[in-house]
């Protein structure tokens, strides 16, 4: 079966989750959809599976247009989906789960269980699935449950199988098994759409790779393809953001993070991570989403317990401090998820502007709130940050994303602070707001604030950072100058080793590896941190113009 999507567009309000996406899947092929969270992969598959209707575009099956009003239509057309979260009844047997929804009655009017069992056994044998029809689903390991989902689709005559992040829940060994099964399926003529954000897996299994970014197809590749290339495509560099920026004048080390480790049920999302940030410099932490950036920020703010390492601000140890004492110690924080963590949506703009200062003068005296001071502050901030709101009493949740972000930024930089940690500060914002936010962040740097920007957008990293750290699987795989080619960052983001291998080496704007021959650090009395893999003390200044002009040529076709 030949499946084709033509110009699929799906809008949610102003946001185009899918913007004119076209792709075709040939029979017996594995077509990988690669993209970060929010790139539009899931929306596209929901369109294909009949869960949502596209605003524009069409789906063609063997050249004929098809309309899927519901999953039932999609299934009838031969499309099967294995969701990331399995849709199985745990207390039913495999056979019962497979037959659920398409139960066939025998002559007696009872369920024909024998036939289902036989079907399951047949399919299991044919594709080497090793699934027993009478096993209870709840007793099966996750990898086998996934195969039950695959059997469910096959029993319904699926000829295109959509696997949504199928490896997210699997161990490496189970992943290998899944790949073997996928190859058997494609060998038998079934097509597979493989959704993932894991570069290595996509490379290993796909015949064609389509990369989505911000709802658009940004590139198509046919393996062999380098992971660097894919990473660069995924995070993208096609929007040129030009915010004029003077050379950084780094001062003393303000924020010192040493050996920070965060443990959770799944492992070590942050694994012995170290970096320093000086006053008046911006450290950009780049990396593909889900490599521990969220956990790092939360650990820095005391929102997540750490198991090892330390966090110091101007010599004050904050490793065990509460979020409030960190804020009081002068850490400003722009969280990644602004609606969940940054704002109280039902509170007014004025209230949100004092959300972490309401208990300090002049906003309160004793336990009394000083509403006049809160209002005055709101008026001043709204003016200063050009927050577009009906009034200070408007609920913050009703503002646009850009204006919400301005509220958060206005609040955080409005109080005394020495460090600014901003995570994905411009995610989902329009270009105008992005520029505004970037300008404000650079302004902070120029006022001598030590700034950490965590972003999965390379554009943003290039636009802001005076120094770039790349994060991969909870570790920093390298520090680089802002003039570094995107391909090099892509390599580091894909887990590539720090190829220079020379302590203190820096890859400059020209891509030439130089050895730091003891170039004068701006603060000579500050001993170089021994635990940093690259040279954090390399002054950013000499390479600075490269950040503006020396950006490597675009790699996208």
């Amino acid at each position: 079966m030949e499946l084709e999507l033509r110009g699929i567009t799906k809008r949610f309000g102003l946001l185009a989750a899918n913007d004119g996406i076209s792709l075709s899947v040939a029979p017996g092929q594995v077509h990988a959809l690669l993209g970060e969270n929010g790139a539009g992969k899931t929306t596209l598959m929901n369109v294909l599976y009949g869960l949502t209707q596209p605003d524009e575009g069409e789906i063609l099956i063997d050249g004929k247009p098809a309309r899927f009003g519901s999953p039932r239509d999609a299934i009838a057309a031969g499309i099967g989906m294995v969701h990331q979260h399995f849709m199985l009844v745990p207390v039913f047997t495999v056979a019962d789960n497979v037959t659920l929804g398409i139960e066939e009655a025998g002559r007696s009017g009872l369920l024909d269980r024998r036939k289902t069992r036989r079907d399951v056994a047949d399919l299991s044998h044919r594709y080497g699935l090793d699934v027993k029809p009478d096993a209870l689903v709840e007793e099966l390991p996750v990898g086998i449950q996934q195969r039950v989902e695959i059997i469910k689709a096959l029993v319904r005559q699926a000829r295109v199988l959509i696997l949504d992040e199928p490896t997210a829940v699997l161990t490496p060994a189970e992943t290998e098994e899944l790949f073997r099964i996928i190859r058997q399926l494609t060998g038998a003529g079934t097509s597979v759409i493989f959704i993932s954000h894991k570069l290595r897996e996509v490379q290993a299994i796909a015949d064609t790779i389509t990369v989505l970014r911000r709802g658009q197809v940004v590139g198509q590749r046919t393996p062999p393809v380098t992971e660097d290339d894919l990473a660069a495509l995924m995070v993208g560099r096609n929007v040129q953001l030009r915010v004029s920026k003077d050379l950084a004048k780094p001062g003393e080390v303000v924020l010192d993070v040493a050996g920070l480790t965060v443990a959770d049920a799944g492992g070590l999302p942050v694994n012995g991570l170290s970096f320093q940030v000086r006053a008046g410099e911006i450290l950009g932490i780049a990396g593909v989403q889900g490599n521990g950036q969220t956990e790092l920020c939360e650990a820095l703010m005391g929102l997540r317990p750490t198991t090892a390492g330390s966090v110091t601000v101007e010599g004050h140890d904050l490793t065990r401090a509460s979020p409030r004492s960190r804020l009081r110690a002068g850490v400003a924080y722009v969280p990644e998820d602004r609606t969940d963590d940054g704002l109280v949506g039902s509170f007014s703009v004025a209230e949100n502007l004092v959300l972490d200062m309401y208990d300090r003068a002049p906003y309160s005296s004793g336990i009394n709130l000083n509403l006049a001071a809160v209002r005055e502050n709101a008026a001043a901030r709204i003016e200063e940050f050009d927050i577009r709101t009906g009034s200070a009493a408007t609920a913050a949740g009703t503002l646009s994303g850009g204006n919400q972000q301005k509220v958060i930024l206005a609040r955080e930089v409005g109080r005394e602070h020495k460090v600014l940690i901003a995570s994905q500060p411009t995610r989902g914002l329009d270009v105008g707001s992005i520029e505004f936010v970037h300008r404000r962040i650079i302004q902070q740097r120029d006022h001598g604030v030590a700034v950490v920007i965590v972003s999965s957008e390379l554009d943003e990293i290039y636009a802001l950072a005076d120094r770039i750290a790349v994060m991969y699987e909870g570790k920093i795989t390298g520090f680089r100058d802002p003039g570094v080619p995107a391909a090099e960052l892509g390599r580091l983001m894909a887990g590539g080793a720090d190829s220079t291998g020379i302590p203190g080496a820096v890859v400059g704007a020209d891509g030439v590896t130089r050895v730091d021959d003891g170039g004068e650090p701006p603060a000579p009395d500050e001993p170089p941190a021994p635990d940093e893999p690259a040279a954090p003390d390399e002054p950013a200044a000499p390479d600075e113009p490269a950040a503006q002009d020396g950006q490597p040529a675009q790699e996208e076709a």
Binding site: R326, E351, Y358, I367, L369, T389, A395, L399
Partner: protein, 432 residues
């Protein structure tokens, strides 16, 4: 969904001004909750009227002859329902006969001396007396609700407050004013301890407050029964009834409108508490934290608030308010404590808070309404033979309708749609 229904023309005059979409949206939502609440009341009253009519034997008899005398059947039904509501009104607000009697007196002094004046105000006094614990207990649910906590433990907190207030009332000897203050504070502390316990358990272990408070209700119910079963504990000496001694007269809440009316300082305390809760929520840093934690715990945590501490604190204050409800009953009307003292206050509190939309002003209004229903129901039963339980049915219907806005919207949207264009007459119809 948020377009103002024709029944709320008041929303229209503001529409012309230059206002943001957000403000319009918010107003529409707020209006619609108030509208829905009012319509829910109306729906419940109508349904309650139908119920009273069709549980009345005379009405049923008339309806069996419906086809020969349909007018009679409908008139009988109307009489039964109207009579019930009139009796309710006379028992809870004022009775025209008593007012007439007052004005027939020769002089004001005789009117006062012979209690004609008291008689006029008796229904209102009873409404206030009934409303007092309802308002306080309603606040005990409404305040934690603002912080995102659902306090089902009104009963246990009430019992905690009752035990403290009653014990301090009979076992301690203090001068008049001091004794009242001590007992009231004791009631607050008794309730607060149980509220705090539930909040603290949630803060430390994550156990859901609904489950914890419900279980504490059972614990306290049986603990009270145990206390009242032994002379060495709280049982009154010289008897085997499960009841405490009467509290000292020094610990009685002062009457505020003469000896013939039961209305007492407790009612003023309840109003003061409602104002206090409003002030706490809207004018203090503590209330700011409560509301923030309730609206978005995650952002509150990021902003440096201690979410868990807020849970424990808001439940303690809420519990304290339920304890005050108990104090108002023990020290204002009952003067002893028995195993039934807590009545249905725990559940009624939820009802009152729900009807009051979780806001202090709303709780006062809802408390007064339910207080009026309680105060009027005995008179209603005497006058019309309608069982007292009908009041509970009406209460339950109100809650049902308030809790299910789509139901109300469906019921009234249909009629509103049909009557579009004649909305003025419709809104008159509501007022009639």
């Amino acid at each position: 969904m948020t377009t103002p229904s024709p029944a709320t023309p008041a929303a229209e005059p503001q529409a012309g001004r230059d206002r943001s979409f957000g403000e319009h949206l918010r107003d529409a939502i707020q209006d619609s909750t108030v509208t829905v609440t009012v319509l829910a009341l109306i729906a419940a009253v109508v349904l309650g009227g139908l119920l009273t009519a069709f549980t009345n034997n005379a009405v049923l008899h008339a309806w069996s002859d419906f086809f020969s005398a349909p007018g009679n059947a409908i008139a009988k039904a109307w009489d039964a329902a109207a009579g019930t509501y009139v009796a309710l009104f006379e028992g809870s607000v004022f009775n025209p006969h008593d007012v007439a009697a007052l004005f027939q007196q020769a002089s004001i002094s005789t009117a006062i001396h012979d209690n004609y004046l008291s008689k006029v105000f008796y229904p209102l006094s009873e409404t206030a007396v009934q409303a007092t614990p309802l308002i306080l207990a309603g606040l005990a649910v409404a305040l934690p609700y603002q912080a995102g906590m659902f306090n089902i433990g009104g009963q246990s907190q009430f019992i905690g407050g009752a035990i403290m207030a009653a014990w301090l009332g009979y076992a301690v000897n203090l001068p008049f004013f001091v004794h009242v203050v001590v007992c009231v504070l004791g009631g607050f502390v008794g309730g607060a301890a149980l509220g705090w316990l539930a909040g603290e358990i949630k803060a430390r272990t994550g156990a859901h407050e609904v489950v914890v408070t419900i279980m504490l209700n059972y614990v306290m119910q049986y603990f009270l029964a145990y206390l009242l079963s032994s002379h060495s504990l709280m049982q009154a000496p010289g008897g085997s009834n499960s009841i405490t001694q009467a509290i000292a007269s020094n610990a009685h809440l002062s009457l505020i409108a003469g000896t013939h009316l039961r209305i007492n300082v407790g009612f003023l305390i309840a109003l003061a508490c409602a104002f206090g809760v409003w002030w706490l929520l809207n004018r203090t840093t503590t209330g700011f934290e409560f509301r923030s934690v309730g609206a978005n715990a995650s952002a509150s945590r990021v902003a440096g608030m201690n979410v868990e501490r807020n849970w424990a604190l808001v439940m303690a204050i809420g519990g304290g308010l339920a304890g005050l409800a108990a104090a108002s009953v023990i020290m204002g009307t009952d003067f002893t404590l028995n195993p039934q003292s807590y009545g249905t206050y725990g559940i009624d509190a939820i009802t009152v808070a729900l009807l009051g939309l979780g806001r202090p002003g709303g709780v006062v209004a809802a408390g007064l309404l339910f207080g009026a229903l309680h105060a009027g129901s005995p008179g209603m039963q005497t006058a019309t033979g309608t069982p007292v339980q009908i009041v509970q049915v009406i209460q339950a219907l109100i809650v049902l309708f308030v809790a299910a806005p789509p139901l109300v919207r469906t019921v009234f949207r249909l009629r509103a749609a049909r009557a579009r264009g004649v909305s003025t007459s419709m809104s008159k119809g509501w007022n009639a």
